[in-house]
Symmetry: C2
Subunit: 355 residues, 2 copies
């Protein structure tokens, strides 16, 4: 069994404005410590596969920065899509490219911007799932044991019968629930958080795409025929221009039969907003996370980021303060999802310098 | 009767950090509209005296900016003290200088950084008080009819008998009271807010200084003897170096007998903090005052100043946000007085670039 990694790094991350920009979204910034999110994602895979077997799928705006941030990944493995067309297209493209190397390769597809702790457990879980995917020809997802009725995540309901090593058949995928549904999910004990990590053989996922998304499959064949020719770029652009934007979850996973989930025990957080960053960061005795040149008093449970300019905060509570070179965000932690609306406002007003 | 104006402009205004700096305190910044506070102070006196009769007492750090901001005031009327030694010294210095022009001159001494509305009423009140001061040889203050139990102001208790035109004898000066005392003051009906405006003849105030602050008076005589000589600067520095720092209120007004107050009817606010600026500013329908390049939503009763850099505020309430080129302040409106502590912190840490 040969293992490949596909890191999906196309997100624009408007919820992390003003630190994230179109050219520099969440995965490319240092939210936790010295590494960017994508650097941590690669580091976390250390030892699992060789660098030549790691692929990154991104877009033109981000490609250069990704090359800079991941100098050990071969340049030709960093692939830019001409348009963002959601995960089904992205995974299809990665699959036909890896197929050239090894049609029976097992690929682990994962997001570039999630937080995962306990690397050893993480790798053990991936390896175990990969072996199962190779042998069973199944589509395997990683499900995280939920610790709270989170309404920001999708859920996976699993069959209680354990097939082997924490691997179960998937019964249903559930979209982000409301709070009472989330509580019901947790209480039932048979729901897991959907981590967005997928493991399968390339031949298997391409068969599934053929079956459930035949138009995608047709397009992928055209792209495949142009690999290693001068027509590749134009063919890619041509095909992508006509592809529907659809997720692998909706397009394949929810329809296929041979879908499995591995119950995982490592810490996982998709870090979907500044509020999530606050929650997973280490706080001082006042509940504050303070990064940069900051004076604070009578200030509690706040996230303050001001690396370049001096910031004084007096009497603030539950605030997210992000003071960057070109813009300042002050946001109540309860409204962290609304940060997107600032980006919409800036787009509408042609403030392209700020987004 | 010849009238002179003395504008006291030596304050460093640390409560308006980060807009105010040592070199550019409150009186020299544009808090309300197009003019700086000191420009408004001069404009408000328009027609009352000629510019040659307007004097400004300041310090070396501010002198140049004051000259720039008040190009119509003769340069020689802008006088810098070598050290700040509180109002008794400042008023003494102005008095010996004006005495050279006219020993019987009436001087109106006023702060450079207060907000006053209803100019006509204001000028009428000053002129009326000046005439009384000239004839009675009294020390006249301006007292403002209080509209709320403000704990940030000093109070003046007046004798109920009206001498003439709203002028009463002063019974006592009261320091900033606590809330219950302030309420008692308001209910009694015989207390006014102390506006810090004084009106007297120069010969009279110099006599009072001789009586109650004889060391000050001795020093002033030495300075006077050096006026129009090459020794003036060194004599001034010599004398000021040894002067006690004491206010005219404490040093003279509270001790003298011939003290009067004019009950004034114009709007007055000493604008002592960002909270006061918020209070006296015009608000939008959400109770916000917004100046500059700002996006806001779910934000109420806040003061947001961000002229240069884009600021987005989501879900803030009762905040003061001052985003300047070199520093950012975020302060709960209830803690506006604590802004000083930021300046103390910066001083202690030798961050002189920021203060």
């Amino acid at each position: 069994m040969e293992l490949f990694i596909v890191i999906m790094a196309g997100g624009v991350g408007s919820r992390f404005w003003p630190r994230s920009k179109e050219r520099k979204p969440k995965q490319l910034i240092r939210i936790f410590g010295e590494n960017t999110m994508i650097q941590d994602t690669v580091k976390r895979l250390n030892g699992l596969v060789e660098n030549k077997n790691i692929y990154v799928i991104t877009n033109r705006l981000q490609k250069l920065r990704i090359k800079e941030q991941l100098p050990d990944i071969p340049e030709e493995n960093i692939i830019d899509e001409p348009f963002g067309k959601n995960t089904a297209a992205c995974i299809g493209l990665a699959s036909i490219i890896i197929k050239q190397k090894n049609p029976e390769a097992v690929t682990i597809v994962l997001p570039s911007d999630h937080l995962i702790k306990n690397e050893e457990e993480f790798q053990k879980c991936l390896l175990n799932s990969a072996k199962f995917a190779y042998e069973s020809r199944g589509l395997v997802t990683i499900g995280i044991k939920p610790t709270r009725p989170e309404t920001g995540y999708g859920y996976i309901q699993f069959d209680e019968k354990e097939i082997e090593n924490n691997i179960h058949k998937v019964l249903t995928f559930a979209e982000k629930p409301n709070l009472s549904t989330a509580i019901r999910f947790i209480e039932s004990g048979d729901f897991l958080w959907n981590s967005g990590i997928f493991i399968w053989r390339v031949d298997v996922i391409l068969d599934e795409l053929k079956k459930y998304l035949p138009e995608h499959y047709e397009g992928l064949l055209k792209i495949e025929s142009a690999i290693n020719t001068n027509d590749f770029e134009s063919q890619l652009t041509q095909v992508y221009g006509q592809l529907r934007s659809i997720s692998i979850d909706y397009g394949v996973m929810e329809k296929a039969d041979n879908v499995y989930v591995t119950k995982a025990d490592f810490y996982w957080n998709d870090v979907g907003s500044w509020e999530a960053v606050y929650e997973v960061s280490e706080k001082n005795e006042d509940g504050n996370v303070i990064i940069g040149d900051v004076y604070s008093e009578k200030t509690y449970n706040s996230y303050i980021f001001s690396p370049r300019k001096f910031t004084a905060v007096i009497g603030a509570e539950n605030l997210i303060i992000i003071n960057t070179n070109d813009a300042l965000l002050i946001c109540n932690r309860n409204y962290a999802q609304d940060v997107r609306q600032v980006v919409d406002y800036l787009k509408m007003n042609n403030r392209t310098d700020l987004i």
